[in-house]
């Protein structure tokens, strides 16, 4: 029974890792599409989301099956609940990549103004955060979980600077309204992406320490 449970849990965790990798690809792709205003890559990002959604459904069904079958308690239950929460966070992170891709399509064929923002930096930090957050959960590493919280502050700082820069530029270049508004949305999506990655680190901390953490404040 115990052995079975461990085996099932390992399978759940490997699916979480797979979801994480797919969402990192989605984030990379979406920002690349935005930078080069490449609508085809944007469409690829949107299409790739189906696999991530499918994985989330699989994880949910598998976790529920385990709960129904083995009625885990205390730490085991916390671990399964953690997997459920994390898969739903990753799904939302991937949705933000889809939103960025949709913004790219709305901007259309034009010269990208991305270089006036920290969007690429935010994407890089977010990917670093996601790797650390997942590793902290899978290896029960509290140090990594805390690092995620620190990195989130950097993303927030970038986001505030982007907001100022984009709105200032907007008031001076009304002819670029459409692209600038979409970039303001992208800025918001990446800020939210970092929030959700921080939630993963908080789930990891909850598993490790058995108490609720708030790395957002």
């Amino acid at each position: 029974m115990r052995e079975n449970f461990e085996k099932n849990l390992e399978e759940l965790k490997s699916k979480i890792t797979e979801m994480g990798e797919l969402s990192i690809i989605a984030l990379e792709r979406s920002v690349k599409a935005l930078k080069t205003q490449d609508v085809e890559i944007a469409i690829k990002t949107i299409e790739g989301d189906t696999a991530i959604d499918k994985l989330e459904v699989e994880i949910n069904q598998f976790a529920i099956w385990i709960m129904a079958k083995e009625a885990p308690i205390s730490r085991d239950l916390r671990e399964i609940i953690g997997v459920l929460k994390i898969s739903s966070e990753i799904e939302r992170i991937a949705d933000f990549a889809v939103n960025i891709a949709k913004s790219t399509i709305k901007i259309g064929q034009t010269t990208s103004l991305l270089e006036i923002t920290h969007v690429e930096k935010m994407k890089d930090i977010s990917i670093e955060m996601l790797r650390k957050a997942l590793q902290s959960f899978l290896e029960e590493n509290m140090v990594l979980a805390k690092e995620v919280g620190d990195l989130e502050d950097e993303v927030d700082q970038c986001s505030r600077e982007n907001y100022k820069k984009l709105t200032t530029y907007l008031s001076e270049h009304p002819e670029e309204t459409n692209q600038l508004v979409q970039l303001l949305f992208v800025n918001r999506y990446l800020e939210r992406t970092a929030d959700h990655i921080t939630n993963i680190a908080e789930s990891a901390a909850y598993l490790i320490k058995g108490q609720i953490y708030d790395f957002n404040s």
Copy 2:
């Protein structure tokens, strides 16, 4: 055993109703604050979110406790999973009210430009949708679930019109950039609110018919 299960399920459902009522209050309040640029009401909306978050945690813990204790199968399990999904959707809907309140605070004391948008109409339709979606789940009413999907199309239409109006106004009134950008965010939040309410109707349809529906397309 059966009687116990039914009683527990009723309690879960009454908590869902309570969450729904609180999030309707939050939506009403947030748009009122935005309309009158009343920062105090905005702060009240943000503070009110704690009660909604707390209810979601209670529902989650209670549902997990029922699953661990009674290991429900087939329809009973679908009902509990439905409750879990719906509570997480309501929590997100309430978060959008908080986001609207935060936008109100960012806009600050100024003359509201809300009347050039359909924001209040979107809020009214969303509240109607939420009532119908919850009722469709609680009373297993498929007709109501479908009506939610139709109403979502109206919200999407409002959202598209708002986007056009606000960006056009923005390119003509750069001095109002800050407020207009925040109103563009609010427009997005309400569009997303309607999406999440539609997810509730889909959960209801899944419970009633045992198959997955997509009212979004």
